[in-house]
Symmetry: D2
Subunit: 159 residues, 4 copies
């Protein structure tokens, strides 16, 4: 387990609820395989829609996974009524992504009252062997008193 202590008991339900609202993730078939205080793991199959023009995993899919795995890791350590915004992130592409599926890890390095900093790693798995294909570092901001569920309801209702 991680050394971090969540601020409320239902952190996992809150994080999984936010995760489930992202429409693009349904296109990509991404699953949240682990959700712990300060740590998230995502998995997704490498399907035709995820490939770029060279036949490798598209950089946009890579960056999408890196961003959300960092953001949800940050989200595991905030209050029940808060949400998380991406301030910025940076990623290095290390190797082309190919194989059966992808596995992303998001680690909180420094949880803050308002600013949380994470490191992210992305692996491609081929025939049971993993290759590290991307590493990143990102900054996430807590939006106090703006839960995802509340914002979603307001915007859905306003349309």
């Amino acid at each position: 387990m991680t050394p971090f202590k969540p601020r409320h008991d239902d952190f996992e339900a809150t994080v999984r609820d936010s995760f489930s609202r992202g429409a693009i993730l349904h296109v990509l078939e991404t699953e949240m395989s682990r959700c712990e205080p300060g740590f998230i793991e995502l998995r997704q199959p490498i399907t035709p829609v995820t490939l770029q023009h060279h036949g490798y995993v598209h950089g946009g899919v890579v960056s999408t996974l890196m961003d959300i795995v960092g953001g949800h890791a940050a989200q595991t350590l905030i209050g029940a009524g808060d949400s998380v915004l991406t301030v910025e992130f940076k990623i290095n592409m290390l190797a082309p992504g190919e194989g059966d599926h992808l596995r992303a890890e998001g680690h909180v390095i420094r949880p803050g009252k308002n600013i949380t900093v994470c490191r992210m790693d992305l692996y491609a798995s081929k025939d049971g062997e993993e290759t590290l294909i991307c590493i990143g570092q990102g900054t996430y901001m807590r939006m106090a008193g703006v839960s995802d569920a509340k914002m979603f309801a307001e915007r859905a209702g306003g349309k």
Copy 2:
């Protein structure tokens, strides 16, 4: 026009050919509206599939556009038989994306023999008014003698 001189006359056809091979862009309905030496402009509608759980444009869509607009800007200045890989990029999210469509700009800042550095900007347009929602900076590497068309043919043939 930009101050840059392309290395071959068919640079636009080469760039547009690469752009057309990205399957994820068909999902997003992205179009390349301008292709000049050292400069690319992309446009895409804000559709339901591009939204995240708050109802704004998904960070993954933002990062996808930032990466490809920078990569294709770099590609406008390389040789006919070469291709471009993303080494790394960094983006700052400035405002939530909402409105009718997105417009991305990729600018080559320093073209190099092997390493090209770009700056990227992303605007969201609502009722005819644009808001800058993301800025980025990225590093792209030339793959000498590995054209996109050639690599695509080889991989397609090998399956």
Copy 3:
């Protein structure tokens, strides 16, 4: 002039006061040549202490200038009783720095209540001709109610 409006009339005096407190800048002989709302320009001579082992300007000098020019640009747009902290920044080295002096520009791209995002450029000047040697992008946070002068006085008094 820039399009930004400062929050108080003495912004320039506040920024120059903070700038003057950095001991490392006395070693480097850095000067603040322009201070406008949302914009800072720094200049410094290329002296032996600024060189690395290849005889070019040291990367550490480059990154120091990039960070402070961005931070002070952000500082031009905050309140009189506030100060600025660097959250993060990213820089690309474009060319080796050589010549007579360096000139750095810091531009606020998005001023925020708490988070300000800047772009930074660094030029080396040789025989009157400038070369862009580094570009960067950084995130700065406002520390409400913690002025530099006050913090300086408290810490100096506490020792």
Copy 4:
């Protein structure tokens, strides 16, 4: 020990020779405490010249250490006749630096023929307790056939 294998037996002497040529490091009193394949550790005292206007370690000192610890880590894995250039790096400031001394770690994450990617960590030590104050990620390029010693000799002779 690290899992990496150096390309030549004298890698440590080569790295330490390059390190010793940086004039700014003499001002900062930085020492290379460990030099292993793919790993570098630097240490330096927190002295008055390293402080900024708040009385904490200057961001420029922090970024200088981050850059060189990453660059020298990359250098441990290249050929005897090669040298290393910083392509870019990104750092997050996690906490103000205060105490007795600083300790920086540079880790190669992916060594490449031409491009090496590193992660860097910086700790401040106070009364025997370490605090992580900065994390970073950087990209370094091999300059084939341009050793530091050779370039230094040529430039020194040309003046």
